[in-house]
Amino acid sequence: MTTGKLELSGITKSYGSRRVLDDVSFQVAPGRLTGFVGGNGAGKTTTMRIVLGLLSADGGQVELDGSPLTAEDRRHFGYMPEERGLYPKMKVLEQIVYLARLHGFSKADAAARATALLTELGLDARLNDTIESLSLGNQQRAQIAASLVHDPEVLILDEPFSGLDPLAVDVVAGVLQASAAKGAAILFSSHQLDVVERLCDDLVILAGGTIRAAGSRDALRAEHAGDRYELVSAGDAGWLRTEPGVTVLDFEGGYALFEAESAETAQRVLRAAVDRGDVASFAPKHPSLAQIFKEVIQ
């Protein structure tokens, strides 16, 4: 697979006088899962549709490996639309085979790929059932198969996890991770921040049509980590309130959550705590994605 980096720069889009995307720039790197989060109406779907050429942007550009996207490049994209779309009366296998053949695979190759992928997604018992006879969760698995069957270089998935039970989320997450491991660049949107947090390597946060944060998950976390520490000790942690350079945010018995003005202060606190009794744990406190999200979209 010849994979490239998908890069959006300065994308703007207006519907009439309403600007829905304003100078949207971010990257989706090959071999990585990029989570795309934002509130309802933030512009995620619009951005994805622009990348796929289903909508045209008013300004800015989308590049793959440094050159503007062409229709030919898009043939190697996989797409899962927000509103699920497959032929209701077509059989599951037949449908996925058809889509694979439209992407240029021979009949035999298409059938082999479709069968393998659907089996991996747990639909092996439903291959010859029509789409309309499947449960919503299973329709969604079929939809994911439709976007993946041609081994796309770039995968754009709009809410791939919505409506899936926790086991199905794991199955789909596994398939996406395997695809990323083979080198695909994957962009997926989701409102399930815990899933995004667990799964993604990179993160893009969109609010009101502008990018509020973009980068690797770990860097974002570190950036928003602040200087919060958590201390769990045997004795009462009340003494912390009188330590210079320390602001206690929360404490109860031996537990305390505090902000230290510097790393040295934090180390001093740890030593002091050890002097006062056994320390069960002492660690910098990382904010959850939900917290970062709320913080950056303000």
């Binding site: 796929l52 209701p88 439209l102 041609h150």
Partner: protein, 356 residues
């Protein structure tokens, strides 16, 4: 993948999904059976008209027996004859009287035309410019061409319209357009449905031919052969034209419920030739105009060829006009289709669809 194999794939799917629909198979079967039955019944009826039963006395038996296609029952007197007429055992009775001809015809409610005319004396008639075809036959052939065109064009036109809206409504189209272009998709749909419509026309033509041969109507067959072939050729291009328009019109709406709002004008175009040919199949001016207007040419030109009014070059000129309109319709249709396909929600305005 190259566009032409993608077009075939789309066409194949269209054909496959239609052939798997039981409704379609059953209705096609019924249509073919009706066509076959119509021709067979028509053929046998014209060959063996039912004999008229007539009661006669010994004085009239000779005159009545000389008439074609009667079955006589000899009776003794008027009383017995009337009884048979009243009980409807016979359709008429012919009895001697003293009038100029020497017979009285007795019937129950209506005068039996064939007996009356058979026994009448008529002046000899000379027609200087005889009609080339039997008006009744002409009428039936007109209905035949009109109905076949109407049924096939509206059935497969509606099919293509539904398939366009289905893809839009279910958003399959967004997935499809990430792998093939709108024009490829449109071409595949038009070709797939044209193949189905032509298969139905060819099946009907084959059944008509077999039916005519079986019932020994070789004269009609000889007259109808060339017009049927022309009909098929005109239908092919006429349908491609209509299919492009149906697809374009359907692409402007996003829900099945709205399909009528944009395809009704095209439905009118499909119905027009059917009604025109029924009302005006004996009007050469209307038929001539019909045979050159692209939408009605598939019905008008074969009709004129059948009655022998068209010169040999006329179908060629009309076909050229049809081909040019076909190309124009495909270009306009493809533009509307491309511009409307991804616009969900309310109906796309025609001006917007054309502008892009």
């Amino acid at each position: 993948m190259n566009p032409s194999s993608a077009i075939w794939l789309v066409a194949e799917r269209e054909i496959g999904s239609k052939l798997r629909s039981k409704t379609f198979l059953i209705s096609t079967g019924i249509l073919l059976l009706i066509a076959l039955a119509g021709i067979l019944i028509g053929g046998f009826a014209s060959k063996n008209p039912e004999a008229t039963t007539v009661a006669v006395t010994s004085q009239t038996i000779a005159a009545v027996e000389a008439l074609p296609n009667v079955e006589v029952t000899e009776v003794a007197d008027r009383g017995e004859a009337e009884k048979l007429v009243r009980s409807e055992d016979v359709e008429a009775a012919v009895l001697p009287d003293d009038g100029a001809l020497g017979y009285t015809v007795i019937a129950l409610t209506d005068a039996p035309g064939d007996i009356v005319s058979g026994l009448s004396v008529s002046p000899s008639v000379e027609i200087l410019d005889p009609a080339t075809t039997n008006p009744l036959l002409r009428y039936f052939i007109a209905i035949g061409f009109g109905l076949v065109f109407f049924m096939a064009a509206s059935t497969f036109g509606a099919t293509i319209a539904q398939s366009v809206v289905e893809e839009k409504q279910t958003r399959v189209v967004e997935v499809l357009l990430s792998s093939i272009s709108a024009r490829t998709l449109l071409a595949g749909k038009v070709i797939g449905n044209t193949v189905l419509a032509m298969a139905q026309i060819v099946a009907l033509a084959a059944i008509a031919t077999v039916g005519l041969i079986v019932t020994d109507q070789n004269e009609v067959l000889a007259g109808l052969g060339a017009p049927i072939i022309w009909f098929a050729v005109f239908f092919l291009f006429g349908f491609v034209l209509l299919a492009a328009l149906y697809a374009a019109a359907a692409s402007m709406v996003s829900r099945m419920e709205d399909i009528g709002s944009t395809t009704t004008p095209i439905m009118m175009l499909v119905m027009a030739p059917y009604f025109l040919v029924i009302f005006f199949n004996d009007n050469p001016l209307v038929l001539t105009i019909m045979s050159y207007v692209p939408f009605s040419a598939p019905v008008g030109m074969p009709m004129r060829l059948f009655v022998g009014e068209a010169q040999w070059w006329e179908p060629l000129v009309s076909l050229a006009i049809l081909l040019a309109s076909c190309v124009a319709a495909i270009m306009v249709g493809a533009k509307i289709y491309e511009n409307s396909l991804l616009r969900m929600g309310t109906k796309v305005k025609l001006a917007e669809a054309l502008r892009g």
